[in-house]
Symmetry: C2
């Protein structure tokens, strides 16, 4: 039973970085040549010059929230696909609607690596309870499980009694799905006094895993690990266990992507450890998403995982990055906060807090600064007004005073 | 645009028969060697001797209705799989529960041939509305569509508005699913005034297609053909169009199976044209079902299809073959009718009709006979009683008087 999925996981980190950046230059060239959407946005980019993290950080970001408009203007995939639609394997339609492609080939979504880390092995029988209809979730995990040599029971979501019966009758080894549905299945099995003791491992995702649930399932002999994947990008990160058998802190980034954490609303990487938006570049040949902003918040967890995998770790999902809100009926976007900061480089971090005073919306921009001139706050007020078309206040704070939670707009209004 | 899926479809019928029977001998040897269930039932069969239809007809039949008990005694597949479970791709769980395997490899269920005949071609976008959860239907059609080079939208069943939106937005070319769900989608599109005119072809199955629905859809420019497939065997037969563009009568048998029509409750082939139970032998290497009785009624349609395909045609689905009923609280099975006929070879066809007389169940065996001795009916009454443990009457009929509908037990009781 191999501990690692392949040799990539234990590469020297510098070697990995070199190989990823070399692949990046090729991917940029490929995307420019084959995907009209990238040919347009990367028109002035020389692929040979994209050989560093700094150069990557200058490339434009594509936001998840832009996909709908892009796809409407150039159906079905906004011109971001390098493989023409007629040579793809599947098209999914997620709520939005947002269309997602799947190409041909083994483990296209790269989930096999996460399943392997969660203990799934050749010959295991796996109940895949992610839905297969319209969403790619089911197909995403099925292809990964098959890459691990598992046999899949395509169970989908719902029909809890039938799920229990299938696990009990077929002696299913592993579960794939959401943690809350696993909880329902286990409770139903207890209620029916069905023997599901064959179930020894689970890979869960798509929602929060309460530590108390993981603990309770562990006590039943059911090991639960998490993964982080999206319908556009496939697997991004996954949990692992250390040599002591304990779940390691954080999630190891998948070998098939380059991950950045940026200040929400911008494409600017934050310092290591700071919470920001997850931006990913994949090396998928069919759908070469370059600097795709997921809308999810996370942070890099410094240091190395005790499991022996050498890739960067992130803290997992920490909320949604899109903090757009309405103040006095007007939209305020994270990109507007970023614009104010851009014009006043003395501000290290900024955060708009929206609350209410005397029944009215009140907007205050809190700015972390060192020493600044006396008229600095007034100048920022003016910029804030120019940028948002709204009157706002400014409060100067010391560096480190704002919480590290990735928020640039905080809605502190009380809604009854 | 090739008219036929491959050269097999237009083989000389005698060549096909020779090739199928040669393959049959190999399949019997394979099943005996690899599948413990067949090793047992075919213990005394010499594969080299199974080179004719007559020899095939002497092999034991496995009934769909036997699967549950077989699978319970040797989970999960009753020992009928030649490939061990750990080397399969998927396991499905249909109501029963009955477990069905899917192996690795291209178009494992052979549905590509039916999709091709229905006009599905490389680059077509296909909305697959068969369910993927627990049942193999979704996977069955997806793999066939991909073998045809189509791109699949795994839509599943339900969410009619989303189905309409996906077809309209993605400009879907083809529909796969039940005819009744297609009707719902088209009606919903009309109600929403959504443009689904891209939809030009449909392959439907799993239920009755009303001719008036096919006509109405045809008038909208949507060509609808049917196929007949089962969760155990994959594709069995499919419709086609003739050179005049009209739907040809009957369904052409798939090239990947050997089909027989037998008297319900027996393994005895009926004369060509007579209605009976569909029994199929597949050449699938993973799940080599030999003489699998589907429980469905159909009949061979004599003659050749005008589409140019030379394989045998059947009439499509004509009802369920399992006519087991209860008379005065006791089960009466088709196999018991067959046993009575076996003991009295003068009876060409027999049919039990159950009705009521004076508030009591009454069972009458109608027998088609030529000239018989005077005491013949009394002898049959005795055999009927011995076989069914029930008192019954016997009526002698002339050859051809009983309807050709595959029924050996007719329940003519009125239930209020």
């Amino acid at each position: 039973m191999a501990e690692y999925y392949d040799a990539l996981e234990t590469r020297d980190p510098e070697e990995r970085e070199r190989e990823l950046l070399a692949a990046l230059a090729n991917q940029v060239a490929h995307a420019k040549a084959r995907a009209p959407g990238f040919a347009r946005t990367l028109k002035d980019v020389d692929p040979r010059a994209v050989g560093s993290r700094a150069a990557l950080a200058r490339l434009p970001v594509i936001r998840k929230s832009d996909l709908k408009a892009l796809q409407e203007s150039a159906p079905p995939l906004g011109g971001l696909n390098a493989t023409p639609v007629e040579k793809l394997a599947k098209l999914f339609v997620s709520p939005g609607p947002i269309c997602e492609p799947e190409g041909h080939g083994r483990d296209w979504w790269r989930t096999g690596r996460a399943l392997h880390a969660a203990g799934f092995r050749r010959g295991d029988l796996v109940s895949n309870t992610f839905a297969y209809h319209f969403t790619p979730a089911g197909s995403m995990m099925e292809s990964g499980a098959q890459a691990c040599g598992c046999i899949v029971v395509p169970a989908g979501v719902g029909q809890t009694e039938m799920q229990v019966a299938a696990i009990a009758n077929l002696r299913v080894d592993g579960y794939v799905g959401t943690p809350s549905f696993l909880k329902l299945i286990v409770e139903k099995a207890d209620e029916l006094q069905a023997d599901i003791s064959s179930l020894k491992k689970a890979l869960v995702g798509a929602e929060y895993l309460p530590p108390v649930l993981r603990g309770a399932l562990g006590e039943r002999g059911l090991s639960v690990l998490q993964c982080y994947a999206t319908a556009d990008l496939g697997l991004l990160a996954y949990e692992s266990r250390g040599p002591d058998g304990k779940v390691c802190e954080g999630m190891v980034v998948d070998e098939g992507c380059l991950l950045e954490i940026v200040r929400p609303g911008t494409g600017d990487p934050v310092p290591e450890g700071e919470v920001g938006e997850v931006v990913v570049t994949t090396f998928n040949a069919d759908y070469p998403l370059i600097r795709f902003a997921t809308g999810d918040l996370s942070a890099v967890l410094p240091g190395r995982s005790p499991c022996g995998r050498t890739n960067v770790r992130i803290r997992g999902w920490m909320g949604r990055a899109d903090q757009t809100t309405k103040v006095k009926g007007m939209f305020v976007h994270p990109s507007q906060v970023a614009e104010v900061l851009r014009r006043h480089p003395q501000i290290r971090r900024g955060r708009i807090i929206v609350d209410q005073a005397e029944g009215q919306d009140r907007m205050t921009l809190h700015c972390e600064v060192e020493a600044v001139p006396a008229d600095f706050a007034a100048a920022v007020v003016a910029t804030l007004r120019e940028t948002t078309k709204l009157r706002g206040e400014v409060q100067l704070r010391k560096p480190g005073e704002l919480p590290n939670d990735g928020k640039v707009i905080e809605d502190a209004r009380k809604y009854e």
